[in-house]
């Protein structure tokens, strides 16, 4: 049933693009964010729907759309430059094949990011793109927010539609995105022309904002807390009564802290500085901690140009040589032990990496 509904919705979105080709651009945004082909079991999963939407969006712009107001800007050139840089560093990585699979989503995202401004010629198109991105992300955020409110979530245990751990389904990325769209939500409430402001739009925006704030709690991603702090600071630019705003924020924090899960406050307490927080997006003790304590295991280049930890010249199945590793019972109960045991438990229990320090170590 879900398969049929998602397939009907996606094909319907592509079909209305025959009348207005710009809707194909919106269809691609939806597919790129929600990834219905990953939620689907067989219908959409068997079709390269993302590629179809991209070809439709690009073809519609090339063949049908008015291109008088389309401009190629320096920002797009920088995006293409970044694309070339990513390609070169990935292809020249020590382990090019895993790097290619890890970065598979980057190419189309960068190409589409450079292409999208060419199509955003009118005010309504800009608003429509923002609206579709917000509503698409909301489909993930609302379910995550409700689950957090009901169960509390946990690091690596808040499940969205799929256990993919890529794109917006990765804990720290959805935390960052959820906080980042809050100003966009309220801009749409204030200036939106597709859904003009009324009590229903305002109520939905308020509930969505609350769900967005719950996502960092549910995923227990430290990135989310940093984003909330940054958003609070940036909001100071727009508010009229700053002292009152700061006082209210402080009061809200004091009220919220006792209601937060103990595991969340404990995890947020591990935020230190940039040296100790390189693994802010990951659960466990972190890659940098392990690299600092186990330099022999990290190798001479712990982080490759592609962001993948490498173990040049080491057997793939052995991140830590058994000869140099003490028996598990004699290991001190420090962060390294906890990280290793957490990774092992995660892989054994769920059959996939939890996105923590075992990335590149397994």
């Amino acid at each position: 049933m879900l398969d049929l509904a998602l397939t009907a919705f996606t094909l319907g979105l592509l079909a209305v693009g025959l009348r207005r080709p710009f809707l194909w651009v919106l269809a691609y945004l939806y597919i790129d964010i929600v990834a219905p082909q990953k939620i689907s079991y067989f219908l959409l999963a068997s079709i390269p729907v993302s590629l179809i939407a991209f070809l439709a969006a690009a073809g519609g712009w090339l063949l049908i759309d008015d291109k008088r107001d389309s401009r190629f800007t320096l920002r797009q050139a920088l995006l293409l430059l970044l694309l070339v840089y990513c390609g070169l560093t990935t292809l020249s990585a020590d382990f090019a094949a895993p790097a290619l699979s890890k970065w598979a989503w980057v190419w189309k995202a960068l190409i589409f990011a450079a292409f999208l401004p060419l199509t955003l010629r009118t005010r309504l198109r800009i608003e429509a793109a923002a609206l579709v991105m917000v509503l698409s992300a909301a489909s993930i955020i609302i379910t995550g927010g409700i689950k957090t409110a009901v169960s509390g979530g946990g690091c690596g245990s808040l499940h969205f539609f799929v256990n993919d751990n890529t794109g917006l389904y990765e804990g720290s990325i959805i935390s960052c995105a959820a906080i980042a769209i809050i100003p966009l939500v309220w801009w749409l409430v204030k200036h939106g022309m597709v859904f003009p402001r009324d009590w229903k739009v305002t109520a939905f925006a308020g509930a969505l904002t609350f769900a967005c704030l719950l996502i960092p709690v549910g995923t227990q991603a430290r990135t989310g807390l940093l984003c909330i702090g940054l958003l609070g600071v940036l909001t100071l630019r727009a508010v009229k009564h700053r002292l009152l705003y700061v006082a209210l924020m402080g009061a809200a924090a004091l009220i919220a802290i006792p209601l937060l899960p103990q595991s969340y406050t404990a995890r947020m307490g591990t935020i230190e500085n940039h040296e100790g927080d390189e693994s802010a997006s990951q659960c466990g003790a972190g890659r940098s901690t392990m690299s600092a304590n186990l330099p022999s295991a990290a190798g001479s280049r712990p982080i490759a140009a592609t962001g993948l930890p490498t173990r040049r010249g080491r057997p793939k199945s052995r991140a830590i040589p058994h000869q140099s590793r003490p028996p598990r019972s004699s290991m001190p109960a420090g962060p390294i032990t906890r990280a290793i045991s957490r990774c092992s438990a995660s892989r054994a229990g769920r059959g996939f990496s939890c996105g923590c320090c075992c990335k590149g170590w397994a």
């Binding site: 207005r20 809707l23 010629r121 009118t122 309504l124 698409s136 609302i142 379910t143 689950k147 539609f161």
Partner: protein, 62 residues
């Protein structure tokens, strides 16, 4: 159940937004775009009331 609720709500709103966009003329061109010859010219700015000469209506007209 939460997944179905979230998917139904947001996909319903997405479908409604797509339906509304389908019938909007200003999706493809801004109505006040002076460079677009297909659009009507923008309205002239309102005259400053301080410099508008008020004409007296002839007697007998409302």
């Amino acid at each position: 159940m939460f997944d179905y609720f979230s998917l139904a709500l947001t996909h319903g709103l997405l479908a409604l937004a797509a339906w509304r966009l389908l019938w909007r003329d200003d999706l493809d061109s801004d109505p006040a775009d002076p460079a677009d010859p297909g659009e009507s010219a923008p309205a002239a700015p309102a005259a400053d009331p301080r410099f508008v000469l008020k004409r007296k209506d002839p007697p007998g007209r409302a």
